[in-house]
């Protein structure tokens, strides 16, 4: 095993992990904190990719900038979906079966709509730096991976600050644990949850832009990510942002090694397999709860 | 040879850093009527959950009829003869009142002896519903019941498992005076038929008239255990609980 190959596999894994954290943070909020099993989240990420693609193709804007412009729309979409979810399921107390079916339906509708609108061809963006690569010694740092990774870390840091330093953010953390206490603090739990869910969908906009910078995108790619996001979420301990980052980096490294030494066609099985093992033996995640 | 029906030794339960139960010792003899009181949050329901297997205690042992219950799941404990009613009623919402009782009859009573026939099950359902005063609602769905009736259903379902020990967790909340009297009379009748009962309640009148022995739980610790008249006069109990 060459030292060069090993080091680059690790680096690629780290960069990939940073990106995976951005993909997963939305689920950390909606599933980890709010306990809503939004399996449609990857579809929203792909949607974010396509929107970044359109804006980039029409206006030449950098995809990440495009996704920031699209943030309010995603936020509104998230708020709307939560409202429907709340009125249809949480209120009636029928979440488990029907909530899952609801989000599965949304996953499906989103994917098929994208297929109908854009077809099944791969789409990619023109980002100025996407072809370049930095080098530190024998380590390659392709910018198309490095930039999304760094932006992802920035996004995570911002979210962590929000959750721990602002009133609304702390209310979000609290609503998971004690709705009654929250009400006594004169905060409306439903509104707090709606804000949190909307934020989780908003992250999908950014994550989508990161995705399409890293690789070309087509509608069914979202399915590969369902296993990844839940694997990372469970691995890192539900609802913990630092845990999400650690889980994401772990998965990124394992996938990178598998792809380097066994071939890329095994990659999807890695994350899902890891998820199955984690659920079977340590469902509280590595960091526990 | 074990003479106690239930023996709890140094039972402890924590949630993260919070100690919900701190080395609880408790013994219940067959046929006893034990009352358990304590302020909200003192750990009463947690204790019930640990006894019945819904929660797993970190330390301490629970022995039922001399047998250590560690590792026994909740349904196994029910089969052994421990039954509980839930503080917040948890009916089977898609089934009629009568069918709600069918489940414990099919899955607990059935496994102990030979299988009950359809008509035996039907008869037993009728009996139980009449006992708690729900006979005329046997075909209704839980969502059409009043809160009070749901509590009665909760009790009936626990009784349907033909228990040796029944733990009634705040079964009387919200009942009128006469309904409280009815339930107390019902529980005493059950006790006369050989069922040991642990009554967890806030309604002091009911607890005092029912219990042969009174146990007081405050902040996860047992602070009193003895004759009801003695216990309520205990200084610590007055301070911690009755003063509120």
């Amino acid at each position: 095993m060459s030292y060069d190959l090993l080091l680059n596999a690790v680096t690629a894994g780290l960069l990939l992990g940073g990106f995976y954290a951005a993909v997963t943070v939305g689920i950390s909020i909606s599933f980890g904190i709010l306990d809503i099993v939004n399996i449609a989240h990857p579809a929203f990420i792909i949607l974010g990719s396509y929107i970044a693609y359109i804006i980039n193709a029409r206006f030449g804007l950098d995809p990440i900038a495009a996704s920031i412009i699209a943030l309010p729309a995603f936020y509104a979409l998230g708020a709307a979906i939560y409202q429907i979810y709340y009125l249809s399921f949480e209120k009636r107390g029928q979440e488990p079966l029907r909530g899952l079916a609801f989000f599965f339906g949304i996953l499906f509708i989103t994917e098929v709509t994208l297929v109908l609108t854009f077809g099944v061809d791969y789409r990619y963006v023109q980002a100025g730096y996407a072809q370049q690569s930095w080098h530190i010694g024998i380590i390659d740092l392709p910018l198309r991976m490095l930039v999304p990774c760094l932006m992802s870390l920035a996004m995570l840091a911002a979210l962590q600050l929000f959750l721990t330093r602002t009133f609304t953010g702390r209310a979000v953390m609290a609503v998971a644990q004690d709705q009654l206490a929250l009400q006594l603090m004169a905060a409306d739990p439903i509104r707090i949850k709606r804000i949190a869910f909307a934020i989780s969908i908003a992250t999908a906009s950014l994550a989508g832009a990161f995705l399409i910078i890293i690789q070309p995108v087509e509608p069914s790619i979202g399915r590969d990510y369902i296993g990844r996001v839940f694997a990372i979420c469970v691995l890192g301990g539900l609802g913990s942002l630092p845990g999400t980052l650690i889980g994401a980096v772990l998965l990124g490294i394992v996938e990178s090694f598998t792809a380097t030494f066994y071939g890329p066609s095994w990659a999807p099985a890695v994350s899902f397999g890891l998820l199955l093992l984690t659920l079977a033996f340590r469902p509280a995640g590595l960091l526990g709860r | 040879m074990a003479t106690q029906l239930l023996e709890v030794e140094r039972l402890s339960k924590r949630f993260g850093g919070f100690v919900a139960l701190d080395e609880i010792d408790l013994s219940v003899a067959p046929g006893e009527r034990v009352g358990l009181i304590g302020p909200n949050g003192s750990g009463k329901s947690t204790l019930v959950n640990c006894l019945c297997g819904t929660l797993v205690n970190e330390a301490g042992t629970v022995r039922f009829e001399g047998r250590d219950l560690a590792g026994q799941s909740a349904h196994q404990r029910t089969h052994l003869g421990m039954a509980r009613s839930f503080q917040l009623p948890r009916p089977f919402a898609s089934m009629t009142v009568a069918d709600n009782l069918k489940v414990p009859l099919l899955y607990t009573v059935n496994t102990r002896r030979r299988a009950l026939t359809e008509s035996e099950i039907g008869t037993r359902c009728e009996e139980l519903l009449t006992l708690v005063g729900l006979a005329d609602r046997s075909r209704q769905l839980p969502r059409d019941l009043t809160q009070v009736d749901m509590r009665k259903l909760e009790l009936a379902r626990a009784m349907a498992t033909d228990p040796k020990l029944l733990i009634a967790d705040e079964a009387m909340a919200g009942l009128s005076n006469s309904e409280v009297n009815d339930i107390v009379a019902l529980l005493i009748r059950l006790n006369e038929h050989g069922v040991t009962v642990i009554l967890i309640e806030h309604i002091m009148r009911a607890v005092m008239s029912f219990s042969q022995r009174l146990v007081v739980l405050v902040s996860g610790k047992k602070i009193a255990d003895g004759r009801p008249d003695d216990v309520i006069r205990d200084d610590e109990v007055e301070r911690a609980y009755l003063g509120q």
Partner: protein
């Protein structure tokens, strides 16, 4: 005693209906009826199987495709090895998928329903990846399975034989579902669905019952998949593991109604026929969109499905 007679009568009635359906199909004189009918019957089996675990017990399985494909690939495996008669393949499919269901259930059913659901998604992808990398059964390229021209013993064209097999499977699935529903097992499942903690407290061995439900459901799905390679002639992982199976096996019971065997049957007949029409007249992508929209719509507006609407209309309280 009473219920045994009722069950036997029911199975008999189903057999009669099935015979009529088969006769009707032959009378139509058009092979397309058999091809399209096979698909609808397949959906009846899958929807009914899904509903045993999903509707009766309350645990959502997103991995229908996994169990279905296991049955299909078991057939491919044996076909290359030594061609076996379809009924034997059915049993093999049932055993393989049933065991996998049992295994996966054992790993994940102690956890909340949401984790089980996610695990089933994971399973589908893991299995697909394994198959794609396994050249003996064709890998990503796929495998050709040559369909015999006729069946030994019966003078039936092969597609009619497959149709008959699937018809028998549909009867088996529905009869099984109905028997479970009215049995002690059915009460246990419903108790788990309604309130698992209360079910445990009432003496229901919830883990054991959930494992039974998963195994039974998986086995039926595997049986549905076993004849598929012969039906389609060329089996690719992408078609065997298609997400369409998951969506349909969830949408059909949800739309039809999840609390009884009638729901999946009604949902499969309606949705299955609708899909045949849409795929042929518009496109298969639009068809899937419609399924997705209907699923979401029904889940929000009519959570008890068509059967629930029917009950509300005709049972005035």
């Amino acid at each position: 005693m009473n219920s045994a007679i009722r069950s036997a009568t029911f199975v008999l009635a189903c057999a009669v209906v099935a015979a009529l359906v088969f006769a009707g199909a032959r009378a139509a004189g058009n092979d397309y009826v058999f091809f399209a009918g096979y698909t609808v019957l397949q959906f009846i089996v899958l929807a009914t199987a899904w509903n045993i675990l999903g509707g009766y017990t309350g645990y959502v399985n997103f991995g229908t495709a996994a169990f279905f494909a296991l049955g299909a690939y078991a057939t491919v495996f044996f076909h290359k090895f030594y061609p076996l008669p379809v009924p034997v393949l059915l049993i093999i499919g049932a055993v393989v998928s049933g065991l996998v269901g049992l295994g996966m259930g054992y790993l994940t059913l102690r956890l909340r329903g949401a984790f089980f659901a996610i695990a089933t998604l994971a399973l589908a992808v893991v299995l697909q990846t394994l198959v794609v990398n396994w050249n003996y059964v064709g890998g990503a390229r796929g495998a050709y399975v040559i369909r015999p021209a006729e069946v030994e013993g019966l003078s039936l064209p092969y597609i009619q034989y497959l149709f008959l097999i699937m018809l028998a499977l549909a009867v088996l699935a529905i009869a099984t579902a109905r028997t479970v529903e009215h049995s002690k097992l059915g009460y246990g499942f419903a108790a788990i669905r309604d309130d698992e903690m209360a079910a445990e407290a009432s003496g229901v061995p919830t883990l054991r019952l959930k494992l039974i439900a998963t195994t039974l459901s998986g086995a039926l799905m595997g049986m549905a998949g076993a004849p598929f390679p012969y039906y389609i002639g060329y089996l690719q992982p992408s078609s065997a593991f298609a997400l369409e199976y998951a969506v349909n096996s969830i949408a059909m019971p949800m739309i039809g109604g999840t609390t009884s065997w009638v729901g999946p049957l009604a949902g499969a007949l309606l949705l299955g026929t609708l899909q045949q029409v849409t795929t042929v007249t518009i496109s298969s992508a639009v068809n899937l969109l419609i399924v997705g929209v209907l699923l979401v719509g029904f889940v929000i507006i009519a959570p008890n499905g068509l059967v629930g609407l029917w009950q509300r209309l005709f049972r005035k309280r």
